[in-house]
Symmetry: C2
Subunit: 214 residues, 2 copies
DNA sequence: TGATAGAATTTCGTATACTATTATCGCTCC
DNA sequence: GGAGCGATAATAGTATACGAAATTCTATCA
């Protein structure tokens, strides 16, 4: 059973991930406690966990704020994902089962359907799910955890710099390339495709950043 | 200033990392609170953070225990470190400054001195420091965080399967290879050396595992 | 003798209340 | 008029207390 702290954590986490709580915004624990209808204790626990996740920053007795998004740090996150996703894809080739393959295909289909409708709002969530399943298929819990951690940071960033429809199309295409390698049971191709996929996304970001001058 | 929860967290964390609290061992929050001379609240916060770190597991109203070490999972951790450390070394080549290089040399010297004395107890700590400085030199916070996370898991594992003196010697030698690449400002060589370093450590572990047959 | 049901104990989860630290606002002095 | 200092308010940190859930022990029955 989930505790109130768990519920508060998930609620706050998704609020931050979806941008309802913006970077720099101040958090008032007492106020949150009131709005959740609980005491400060479970709220505090949720806040502390989010702080450990790097989503909130707090100074003792001096307030809690939503962590800022350091655009420079994003490059590091993409670099890390590049090598981790390559590793995951290579391992997934050897372990992925039919159920997981079916789920991956299902997600791809959903993404294509949404693109048809021009609805890019849910794309980020589906993209996360795709990579989560892939990480699951790789067969090591640590890889799933790392993926989750890195994806969360990127999703937050995407709020401030959303991907356009054209870029989402290339995401879906690149996923297809990864899946083709999975079907061929070709670990090197899968790793290369995954690495290229993240690299391509990073390139889009860097492109955007270039306008800011660094 | 550090809160009591912070202090409890650090204390417990190091107790787990150093094996004073063994996997499967039961944690009594009330007892801990007494021994720390504080109430349950800060202890609870520390416990929850450690749970998020994967060092403790708890079931509601059913006690908290030190997380077990899944030897199979360790392979995943080494695989992840292999690619992350390669990334870090490659980046560090481009950014490492003189102070950091001096610190790395100092750590290497300390490790050599300890080996002379046949004292391998402190080696794990120095090894962690080496990789921490390297991650710092890479210039992205996320890489430092990931390193910290992965190192902690490995250190716990090392409690149950300590490295022998011969293996520690090869660790120091491999660190030297990485540092030579740093001095030559050769990113590819640094990445390759780092990757080989982690791979070599993983090989030792796997070797040991092989006796267990699985 | 072994299994099962229920009670007692253990231990976590949360609310309320209080303390300590920090931030902010206003006043005074330069 | 601006800067520095002090009082007040705001807010996180912690303690105490209570309630709920699960485990464990014991007693009884098959």
């Amino acid at each position: 059973m989930k505790s109130k702290a768990d519920l508060a954590y998930e609620s706050l986490r998704s609020a931050i991930a979806q941008g309802n709580l913006r970077p720099g915004e101040r958090i008032n624990m007492e106020e949150l406690a009131r709005s959740f209808g609980v005491s400060k204790i479970p709220i505090r626990e949720a806040v502390k966990r989010l702080e450990a996740d790097g989503l909130l920053v707090s100074r003792v007795h001096a307030g809690v704020t939503v962590a800022g998004i350091d655009v420079r740090e994003m490059r590091g996150v993409f670099l890390a994902r590049e090598v981790i996703e390559a590793l995951i894809a290579g391992l997934a080739v050897q372990r992925v089962d039919d159920r997981q393959l079916a789920e991956l295909h299902g997600i791809q289909q959903e993404m294509r359907d949404l693109l048809e409708q021009g609805d890019t709002a849910e794309m980020a969530e589906l993209n996360s799910r795709f990579h989560r399943v892939l990480a699951e298929a790789a067969g090591y819990r640590i890889l799933r955890d790392l993926t989750e951690q890195l994806l969360l940071t990127i999703r937050r960033y995407r709020i401030t710099a959303p991907l356009g429809e054209r870029n989402w199309r290339s995401v879906v295409d690149e996923h297809d390339t990864i899946m083709a390698a999975l079907h061929r049971r070709d670990p090197r191709a899968a790793a290369a495709a995954a690495r290229a996929h993240i690299g391509s996304q990073a390139a889009h970001e860097v492109e955007d950043e270039a306008e800011d001058g660094g």
